[in-house]
């Protein structure tokens, strides 16, 4: 480990001695050593003295103040990492064959609710990290977020009928985000097809049409491995998207005496290729000609840069050509906001661009949704040609893996300078920072509730300018109105650092479930999260969204996933703003006032903080962080705001708009 690596290691702001007698906690803690492991052989990093070789050592069990029985995870969860793995060999079930194929493909995690039993059990017994939550839809969201901050494949699973339909919203959200999500569901029996025998009959595949990349009801048990291959070919090539497999009982329970019983039983290198399409030289020449002509070129780096792992190639290209980069998409950090060529926080400059190089922008905006002006020319790079030219007219389309295209462009482009353009971007960054400071100044004046600018600014300062390495904390940047503030301040400094809320599908409410997936990714140190293994994660959400997946605080607590969930509680849906002066309409957008989401967290085995004034926010965040580090418990920070903050006339600056691409990206 070199010095830079050491400097980047996660640090705790409270040590073990503090944790053993934490006077700031509102609870008493029974000192009963517990070991929470995720995967046999896994090891945490944070609070090293608390970590055992077999997993994360946890020393706290929560005893409520009223002396009711302690809330704690059952010993089966605590000890699961050290439980012996069964030997899985022939004779095997269809579920075992499928799970073994998943293991061979590197399936990185499973998020599920009970149901589809044979398959989820078989996956767990393959030592693939497996988490169960409270709602299948939330688990689909968790898997989506896990993938978005790791780049690895994860699965969600639910039972036939209702368990499957509960996942629909999560699948649709993942589809809009182009997430390679493996969706698994049991689905009754082949022999009982169309009979309505028993319960939970449903023809699943038609319901995911339009929100999946590939789907299949498995029919022939002997082809279960072959269809695993179909699934992973789709998940690992081209433009990603969800793949949905449903398992009739005859397939999951099939018995195979030996390998010869399984059709097309070959390893991954036989049934798919890692080969990627490279750019045509004529297309590269056309692109280089446009780049050389341009005075104010800009790269938009999006989803495809992440999944093709093209961030180093992007950095090299940008630095050689001195072309600035703005990010968009369902995850951020492929091009650090702190890089001098970053244009992600320079919204004023975007309309000046005369050439836009869209790299992996799979979810394509229509004219006017990105801030580029009428003069802008477009180069679009994607691994599949079917979408190139949709919505926005192109000047050059390049069908290529994003990394290969960027490498080819780097080779073909001379070193360039765009100093006047970079000066314009630098000025735009300063102007944006100044505008944010002004908003914070306005928000901090309101003392009777917590203004969103206070949350945004003080959270960002805590993450970027405090004792925590700024690369460390992975953030679920969700919410509705609150996101319009927090995204202005939050910065991504490394790959996989920000999971951008629900993204284009606009689903309200996945955020807490996202934090399950993101915290699981960090807990296991998967992909870009490896260096930050075990670190706390942050989730921002609103009170409307919190209601959808709040029960997953129990999942976070159960697995000791240290997520700090900041709930912007303004007593209303964000939609209230546009109907507030219509008395027959506005009640439809309101909740009861002053709800105690913090107490809900405590009831579910987490920690709660209730913040009512601007000055209380940062101390609450610091306490939550300490608890996350030392006790590995989730916290809900319930920030009491008021819906009137969105009214510009009364509480400037009111609800904020956005400019895309960049830090404010919301739809694309």
């Amino acid at each position: 480990m070199n010095k830079d690596d050491r400097d980047r290691r996660p640090i705790a702001i409270a040590d073990k001695s503090e944790s053993s007698g934490d006077k700031t906690s509102r609870r008493d803690f029974l000192k009963a050593p517990l070991t929470l492991g995720v995967v046999a052989g896994g090891a945490g990093v944070l609070g090293a003295s608390r970590v055992l070789a077999s997993g994360i050592r946890e020393e706290s069990t929560v005893i409520p103040k009223d002396n009711a029985a302690a809330i704690h995870p059952p010993k089966e969860i605590i000890e699961r990492a050290s439980a012996a793995l069964p030997t899985i060999d022939y004779p095997m079930t269809g579920a075992d064959v499928f799970a073994r194929a998943c293991k061979a493909e590197g399936l990185a995690a499973l998020f599920c609710c009970p149901g589809n039993y044979e398959v989820i059990h078989a996956i767990a017994e393959q030592n693939i990290p497996a988490y169960s939550g409270r709602h299948e839809g939330a688990m689909a969201h968790a898997a989506d977020a896990f993938i978005r901050v790791t780049g690895e494949i994860a699965a969600c699973s639910g039972t036939e009928g209702p368990g499957f339909t509960n996942m629909i919203g999560g699948i649709a959200t993942a589809h809009a985000a182009r997430t390679p999500l493996l969706v698994l569901a049991s689905n009754r029996t082949l022999r009982g097809e169309d009979t309505e025998e028993g319960i939970q009959h449903l023809s699943q595949q038609p319901l995911t049409e339009g929100i999946r990349k590939y789907g299949k009801r498995l029919i022939l048990p002997s082809r279960v491995h072959e269809y695993a291959a179909y699934a992973f070919r789709q998940l690992r090539t081209g433009i990603p998207g969800p793949v949905h497999l449903d398992f009739p009982t005859e397939v999951a329970n099939a018995r195979f005496r030996n390998a010869a019983d399984v059709a097309y039983n070959v390893p991954p290198e036989r049934y798919r290729t890692n080969s990627r399409p490279g750019p045509a030289s004529t297309d590269v020449k056309k692109a280089v000609a446009l780049i050389r002509q341009a005075q104010r070129p800009i790269v938009v780096s999006s989803t495809g840069v992440f999944y093709s792992r093209a961030w180093e190639a992007l950095k090299t290209f940008a630095e050689r050509t001195q072309i600035p980069v703005a990010e968009s998409g369902p995850m951020r950090g492929q091009f650090p906001d702190s890089h001098p060529l970053s244009a992600s926080a320079a919204p004023d400059a975007l309309p000046s661009a005369d050439l836009v190089i869209l790299v992996g922008q799979y979810c394509m905006p229509t004219s006017g949704e990105f801030a580029f002006g009428p003069d802008a020319r477009y180069i679009r790079i994607e691994p599949v040609g079917a979408d190139i030219g949709r919505n926005l007219p192109i000047d050059v389309g390049i069908v290529s893996d994003e990394r290969l295209a960027l490498e080819a462009l780097t080779e073909a482009c001379p070193k360039m300078r765009h100093e006047p353009w970079l000066d314009e971007i630098a000025k735009a960054k300063l102007a944006f920072d100044a505008e944010n400071e002004r908003y914070y100044g306005l928000g901090a004046r309101y003392m009777d509730a917590v203004h969103p600018a206070v949350i945004a600014k003080e959270l960002a300062d805590f993450l970027d300018h405090g004792d925590i390495p700024r690369e460390q904390t992975t953030v679920v940047s969700g919410g509705f109105g609150i996101a319009r503030y927090t995204r202005r301040w939050l910065r991504a400094h490394r790959v996989g650092q920000i999971c951008n809320g629900a993204y284009q599908y606009g689903n309200i409410g996945p955020d807490v479930a996202y934090s399950v997936g993101v915290a699981a990714a960090v807990q296991n140190g998967v992909g870009p999260q490896a260096a930050y293994r075990g670190a706390p994660v942050i989730c921002i959400t609103g009170d409307g969204g919190f209601g959808f997946t709040a029960m997953e605080v129990e999942t976070l607590a159960k697995y000791r996933l240290p997520a700090i969930i900041i709930v912007y509680n303004d007593n209303a849906w964000g939609t209230w703003t546009y109907s507030h002066d219509h008395l027959r309409r506005s009640p439809l957008h309101m909740f009861q006032e002053n709800l105690r989401y913090d107490r809900l967290a405590e009831a579910l085995g987490g920690h709660g903080e209730y913040v009512r004034t601007p000055g209380e926010f940062l101390p609450a965040l610091q306490r939550a962080w300490k608890i996350a580090v030392n006790e590995r418990l989730p916290t809900v920070i319930n920030c009491q705001a008021k819906k009137e903050f969105w009214l510009k006339e009364a509480y400037e600056p009111g609800v904020l708009g956005k400019v895309e691409p960049g830090v404010m990206s919301y739809h694309h």
Partner: protein
């Protein structure tokens, strides 16, 4: 009005301006209609007599005495500022920006001072676009109610 038509036709040929339609009226008046940025068609009208290129009734629901009107006017007049880079600025020696409101409808216009209609057309397109970006950024409520922006 060949210059105005040339710039706009080029936009249509590139696929930027959709459902493009044009006609020339009396006394050299040129009008083009197309879909761009807004759900409803937008018009560009070149009036040789008045030496004015305009996008008539571009915005609806603008109350003349409102904060929105005041802010929007300040933003638009600020497009003449020497602080802006040349490619973002409307040179006040060549065109003068006007934004009259009648019956709640704002017309965005450039008075062509130097006879360069190509310059005026390119600048009016940019001005329309920048106004669109500005409203989405600073007036999201108006963008939702009047520009077809999504509530979410």
């Amino acid at each position: 009005m060949a210059e105005v038509a040339g710039v706009l036709r080029a936009g249509a040929e590139r696929g930027l301006l959709r459902e493009f339609d044009e006609h020339t009226g009396a006394r050299g008046r040129f009008e083009a209609k197309f879909l761009w940025l807004l759900p409803q068609p937008m018009r560009f009208v070149a009036d040789v007599v008045r030496q004015r290129l305009s996008c008539p009734e571009m915005l609806d629901g603008i109350v003349a005495t409102s904060a929105l009107r005041h802010d929007l006017t300040a933003f638009l007049m600020g497009r003449h500022s020497a602080q802006l880079p040349e490619h973002r600025r409307v040179d006040s020696a060549r065109c003068a920006i006007a934004c009259p409101v009648r019956a709640g409808r704002l017309t965005l216009a450039l008075d062509v001072l130097d006879g360069d209609w190509t310059y005026a057309t390119e600048k009016l397109m940019k001005l329309v676009h920048e106004t669109h970006v500005y409203l989405h950024r600073y007036w999201p409520g108006y963008a939702y109610e009047s520009l077809g922006a999504l509530l979410e």
